[in-house]
Symmetry: C2
Subunit: 343 residues, 2 copies
């Protein structure tokens, strides 16, 4: 047997041994291993310390399992939101896909500009234009049909800046954090300004968060019997905006308990973090700062770069975080790896 062969055999044997050892060492050790994409720094330390003390019955900070509620923003907190929200990419693609059925869109704004590829002109109409795009692409079908449309789209959707599949631009350290919290009896919820029905079709597979633990913005639906089958039809009418003041409202409506831990990255998450961290008892707030231009994008305070039109992390929020003791994650310093390894 040659020397390289021996070395290879030894490696394989050690890998097998390591697997067995992991099993034998049990839950806690395996769980801290969950945070393997986090650098050993203040953010990881704070997470581990919070989870350790709140799950230790002997600790004064112990939290009973039924109160272990953790809420996560999605865009910019669990996956990339640059150069635009993924749901905006979806809406634009849907306008193009539906254009053949809407010849009037060739001359009607904001659709005409989208079809010409001029996004800036399309959005010049402000909130009214945005709402028209959302309703034209998100309403008019049943909830079952919409779920399938989202599933089909997201399976191949790519980020326009990086050309990577959008589902491969989730943050690996945050996926690990979700699993780590769940392994310690925390129930994890997504609380996003994005559409609740846009996230549910893929959130369980991607984040381990089932549909009933996703909270988001929504349009109204209407019950109908169609060919003997009960369906819900999506209506072009806003139901709820799950952002800023709306996040605690949505949390109360869906979860019915005050979270003890909340994770965000922008002013849209301010009230959610305030809600989670001003209750009685132990609590945890964390904000993701996008300061890693080399591996992701850089925007917000302390990056020396202006805020983007999405994911506004203002200096005021940064100051509030410091004052309230919320942990600010530096993507550059705290994350060993940003995106999942592609197989």
């Amino acid at each position: 047997m040659s020397r390289p062969d021996i070395a290879r055999r030894r490696t394989v044997a050690m890998a097998m041994l390591f697997s067995v050892a992991s099993l034998a060492f049990g839950q806690v050790q395996a769980c801290e291993g969950h945070l393997r994409s986090w650098n050993d720094g203040p953010a990881k330390k704070a997470i581990v310390e919070f989870v350790k003390t709140t799950t230790d019955k002997a600790s004064p900070n112990y939290i009973p399992p039924d109160q272990r509620i953790a809420t996560f923003d999605n865009d910019g907190t669990l996956w990339a939101e640059q150069p635009m929200y993924v749901q905006a990419m979806f809406a634009l693609d849907r306008v193009k896909a539906l254009a053949a059925q809407h010849p009037e869109w060739q001359t009607q704004e904001p659709f005409a500009s989208i079809l010409k590829g001029d996004l800036k002109a399309a959005l010049a109409g402000g909130d009214k234009a945005l709402l028209e795009i959302v309703m034209a692409t998100h309403a008019g079908m049943t909830t079952d049909e919409f779920r399938q449309i989202v599933k089909d789209w997201i399976a191949t959707a790519k980020n326009p800046a990086t050309k990577r599949p959008v589902l491969e631009m989730v943050y690996q350290p945050m996926v690990e954090l979700l699993a780590y919290l769940r392994a310690h009896g925390y129930k994890t919820f997504i609380v996003s300004g994005g559409g609740i029905e846009f996230m549910r079709p893929w959130a369980e597979k991607t984040y381990g968060v089932p549909p009933e633990q996703v909270v988001g913005s929504s349009i109204k639906t209407k019950f109908e019997m169609r060919d003997g089958k009960a369906v819900l039809v999506r209506l072009p009418e806003l139901n709820f905006i799950d952002d800023q003041d709306g996040k605690p409202v949505g949390i109360n409506q869906h979860i019915g308990r005050r979270p003890v831990a909340a994770f965000g990255n922008s002013d849209g998450d301010q009230q959610m973090l305030e809600y989670a961290t001003t209750g009685s008892g132990p609590h945890f707030g964390m904000l993701v700062l996008h300061d890693d231009k080399a591996r992701e994008f850089a925007y917000g305070p302390a990056t020396g770069l202006p805020d983007s039109h999405v994911g506004t992390f203002t200096q005021a929020l940064y100051d509030e975080a410091k004052q309230r003791g919320w942990i600010v994650i530096s993507m550059k310093d705290d994350w060993k790896q940003v995106f999942p390894l592609v197989h």
Copy 2:
């Protein structure tokens, strides 16, 4: 040792043996034991058959765990709704408790009639009067304060007809059914026309259903910072009516999946059962018929008695149940025991 003594010893020994045997025989046997307040009849048989086939991987009716969603109405399905909804008792009691702070109520309807004990006159104002009572008693405080008010009230509240604590007028067979379904990987939800925040404070302890699995009617809330603490203030404005057409809408909003099993007792549950039982794949619908005047109340079709003003189970619903294959539970015939044994 006398003969009776020997007999008693034998009984104790057999009871001990039986306990040990149950443990040894494992999950399934223990689970069927969960339905001990059900008589052996068509309803129990249908439940056991549905659960057996949908959890058996070899069965063509197998349902994967993530799709095992079961929804339950509350009033008249999980607990008694006669002689009036429990939440109505709560509202009337709150009017009396708050009267000292509202001297104007002595002459202002519908409050004046409530304070005089004349419920009929109070409700003569129809929906408008009802809404005024709800808003005066359910709004104006924070969600944390309301939760405590409900907890305090329900701890001592008694049914005016039976004088039994309202929490002891839950249906024991249905509590067992909830546990039986959960033991087989079903996620159980309450989907009630009642107030979501009225049910959450006691639903987990009473039914094993946590706050985030309770869907119900709601009023709007508003985020506020009060003395440095984030709170939600309950506003005197309707948000959502979770009844009839609203039940599938509420299910989709909160759960995001079509249930495969639904349980109700009135026309308010019709659309929920239609939604659950017209999807693709196996499904189960069940309605509780209140035909047991001796042990509970009798109202609805086939009882020979007129419908009450609450919990309307019309002949049309009865006919639809037969046509769609929904099981109609006869409380009289199918339930060995109606209420929990009091210790």
